[in-house]
Symmetry: C2
Subunit: 130 residues, 2 copies
DNA sequence: TATTAAATAATAATTGTTATTATTTAAACC
DNA sequence: GGTTTAAATAATAACAATTATTATTTAATA
């Protein structure tokens, strides 16, 4: 799924690779620390710029949780459960909900849809037991 | 809709009044500036604390957009359209989507649901014309 | 090879939010 | 009513995430 109009610099390739391998929804800091293992001289600003850039190009997705940006490479339609205690984020799939969400999205007047996000906020099992 | 276990201080009453009158989804700064018209000596920390407090008590709702907290007093089930250019937020209602969202929410395993948020991201009419 | 634009690194500045502490307010008890 | 106690507030410091700035590097184009 390469895009012709995107310059695949070393930094961008490493960021994409990192996100592809990562299980979960890393923050900018996570990505920075991870990518730094290979590109020791990469700047955090570059990580910010490229995560934003790649999200705008649609190669990755941004998830904003409690004011901090997180990213994922899972582009398939899905939702998120977010624990309001520990912050854990998990993917959750409901094809029916994805379908209805997109159908509704496409019929909103005077609005050019880019994406539709469904977030379930609550308390995860582990936090409930405490 | 008064709650017995909530102390209705002047600050909290003014914040609730402000949110009730406000058309839209004000930030903490908006609320602070607004409430300051009547309670000139109110502290911004108090605004933060009470917005958080009132949201936890379920008297208002928090909407996090692009990393900044916004609040609203509309407690009816509804969604939001968010313009990625100008940041405009508008309420959007789809009973069918609200219903399905809640139904899905209640059936997520190992997760105690608190709320389910649906955000439509895209470009508003005004921004499209530019 | 020279020119130009894009990308990057390093870091300063900004913004939204949280933490701290002293003071004030108000409820609960005698 | 006065005293004790806890909660709420004001003022401000501290913090963390993000954005802006600027010089340098890289790479595409002529």
């Amino acid at each position: 799924m390469k895009h012709a109009d995107i310059k695949y610099t070393n930094q961008r390739v490493e960021i994409l690779d990192f996100l592809g391998d990562f299980q979960g929804h890393p923050t900018v800091e996570d990505v920075y620390e991870g990518v730094r293992q290979k590109l020791t001289r990469i700047s955090k600003a570059t990580v910010y710029n490229n995560l934003k850039f790649l999200a705008e190009k649609g190669l990755i997705k941004e998830v904003n949780v409690k004011g901090v940006s997180r990213f994922e490479s899972n582009l398939m339609p899905h939702h998120h459960t977010i624990c309001i205690k520990c912050g854990e984020i998990k993917d959750y799939e409901s094809e029916q909900l994805s379908d209805l969400t997109m159908e509704v999205a496409e019929n909103i007047d005077d609005f050019t849809i880019r994406s539709a996000d469904v977030n379930f906020l609550g308390v995860c099992k582990k936090c409930m037991e405490e």
